[in-house]
């Protein structure tokens, strides 16, 4: 057992040490990591200091990698590899982007509770976020445990939401905080996802929610929205959330199938350089539910 798994938040967040993810890991170690991820949902790997190639190589062992949404915008220039989502306040020349500018206003959407890529037909399975520099203040990431939140629902509510399907759209969630500066190529249709799913690794039921959730099929728009707000409210109560305070060199992996996360406010005049690789899930949630 070469890796050490220490619970930071029981059944939800673990600190995992004793390995360097940039090295060639054997299948046994790799499987231990997967087991820990299934048990906890959030794995914090301190002191990794991965370069982009190392991060990409390790991430690709977990499954197919997403490409960044920035590619949708005609003429986009990337600071990093197209398989890395650039969660920074830096431009292609590594300069801090202007306050109040489009890049930061778009990125403010990361401060809404979400799970990555729930607005894609096949959403994300894992996200891996590597910390290259931290701002002068703020910039914590908060995580919400959607399996624990599901378990804590009243039976009446569990029965009410079983089988429901919600439409997710990033253009919708951005509109809720007043951002609409998209080119036509960046506008994508909403995609349906199940509100409750079974997490395959743990066989536990989980809520599957995000600020991207716009409406619920078969329920009037206002009633569906209020149900979504109430569920989001429930799932993000303090007892289900964990705050990660970043150190340079941290790699944090989270399971997008059973968590939400959000960034907190930070000093945008100092560099915050976070690089995310994102592993696609195996299929749309509705298809996974049919097979299960």
């Amino acid at each position: 057992m070469p890796i050490t798994v220490k619970a930071l938040n029981p059944g939800f967040v673990a600190e995992i040490s004793g390995i360097r993810l940039g090295d060639d890991l054997g299948d046994d170690v790799f499987n231990e990591i997967i087991t820990a991820m299934d048990t906890y949902a959030i794995g914090v790997f301190p002191g990794q200091h991965l370069n982009d190639d190392e991060q990409l190589r390790f991430s690709a062992r977990l499954g197919p990698l997403e490409t960044t949404r920035r590619l949708l915008r005609p003429g986009a220039q990337l600071r990093l590899d197209k398989h890395i989502a650039d969660i920074s306040n830096l431009d292609v020349e590594n300069q801090i982007v202007p306050e109040g500018g489009r890049a930061l206003m778009n990125a403010i959407g990361n401060r809404l509770w979400h799970t990555d890529s729930s607005f894609k037909p096949t959403p994300a399975k894992y996200s891996l976020l590597s910390c290259h520099s931290i701002p002068a203040w703020g910039g914590d990431t908060q995580f919400a445990d959607m399996r624990a939140a599901y378990d804590a629902l009243e039976d009446r509510l569990k029965a009410k939401i079983e089988g429901l399907v919600a439409d997710h759209s990033i253009n919708y969630s951005r509109s809720t905080n007043g951002f609409s500066d998209f080119m036509p190529e960046e506008i994508q249709p909403a995609v349906p996802q199940t509100v409750v799913r079974v997490h395959p690794g743990s066989k536990r039921k989980t809520l599957y929610l995000a600020s991207h959730a716009e409406r619920i099929h078969g329920i009037s728009l206002p009633e569906g929205r209020i149900l979504l707000y109430d569920l989001m409210d429930h799932a993000t109560q303090p007892q289900f959330t964990h705050t990660h305070h970043w150190q340079v060199g941290d790699l944090v992996i989270w399971d997008d199938r059973c968590t939400m996360h959000r960034a907190r406010d930070y000093d945008v005049t100092t560099p915050r350089d976070m690089r995310r690789t994102t592993v696609s899930d195996v299929a749309p949630t509705i298809e996974q539910a049919k097979v299960a």
């Binding site: 007043g178 728009l221 206002p222 929205r225 209020i226």
Partner: protein, 294 residues
């Protein structure tokens, strides 16, 4: 001292007994009631069987009364006096409204945290809600203490927000529920209204946040930045330590101070009557004018 005042939530919610609000009473009792509201913000008066007429005459002693927004809804026949807001799930024939009816969809926004009439130029000072019929479960009203929430902010945050002006807009609230079957009269009447984000209450000179789901953007800030600030403040102000849940009994009259609280109703079924009658007392002027005078 005619009244008995028992704190249900220290400095925030009190149960007030010893007066029959439907009967005539003197100025000194009225002054005690106002003082209790200043001290607590939410006052619960149990066992007050009121007719609308008596609720109206008591409410009018607290200030000028608002007229219900339903006057902009020519297709709705009024079940009640136009100075009583019909917070029920009944139509004009006292029948339960249908699940997807416009009446129910409009009322759905009462499930979002708000303070009454913050979208009007002169917003509400007090709301008085009388429970005439309640469902067997659900339908609680939750209140958030915006004075305590302000006090709990960091000094840095207080300085950041102390002088900000926020635009409150009914259209913004509507966009949150997505309901859009509004009449032209409804659409026409309410442009966005500026309100201060932090106000000082005249009664005890205490500072309070002034927030609602109607808060659309902050003047002088890019919309996403302002809206995120508002969302963070709403979340802060509605944490469990600032929230009180009132489970209704028939004939409860609850008075809350709209200047320093938010409230929302919780879910209830569609097959049981919930009949609540609200009178609303206007404030003395727009919050911005009040801040200039202070």
């Amino acid at each position: 001292m005619a009244l008995t005042i028992k704190a249900l939530n220290p400095g925030f919610v009190a149960k007030v007994t010893g007066v029959s609000l439907g009967e005539p009473f003197g100025e000194e009792v009225l002054a005690e009631i106002v003082s209790a509201i200043d001290n607590y913000a939410v006052c619960i008066f149990p066992d007050q069987p009121l007719t609308d007429e008596r609720q109206l005459s008591f409410s009018a002693r607290l200030g000028p009364l608002e007229t219900t927004r339903r006057v902009n809804r020519a297709d709705f026949k009024h079940r009640l006096d136009t100075r009583v807001t019909d917070v029920s799930n009944l139509d004009e024939n006292n029948c339960l409204v249908a699940r997807d009816s416009d009446r129910r969809m409009i009322a759905m926004s009462n499930r979002l945290w708000h303070t009454d009439s913050s979208f009007k130029k002169t917003p509400a000072k007090y709301s008085l809600l009388s429970a005439r019929a309640i469902p067997s479960e659900g339908g609680e009203t939750q209140f958030a203490d915006l004075r305590a929430a302000y006090n709990a902010l960091t000094e840095k945050k207080k300085q950041e927000i102390d002088d900000l002006i926020v635009m409150h807009w009914l259209t913004h609230l509507r966009s949150k529920t997505g309901f859009d079957h509004f009449t032209e009269a409804e659409r026409a009447v309410e442009p966005p209204m500026p309100q201060v984000l932090v106000r000082t209450l005249p009664g005890l000179g205490r500072k309070t946040l002034y927030l609602a789901a109607h808060a659309d953007h902050v003047i002088g800030m890019p919309v996403p930045e302002g809206r995120m600030l508002l969302m963070d403040l709403m979340e802060h102000a509605t944490q469990p330590e600032f929230v009180h849940t009132h489970t209704w009994r028939v004939n409860d009259l609850v008075i809350w101070d709209d200047r320093c609280t938010m409230h929302r109703v919780r879910e209830f079924g569609i097959t049981e009557v919930r009949d609540m009658h609200r009178t609303t007392v206007s404030d003395v002027g727009p919050t911005i004018d009040q801040a200039r005078v202070a």
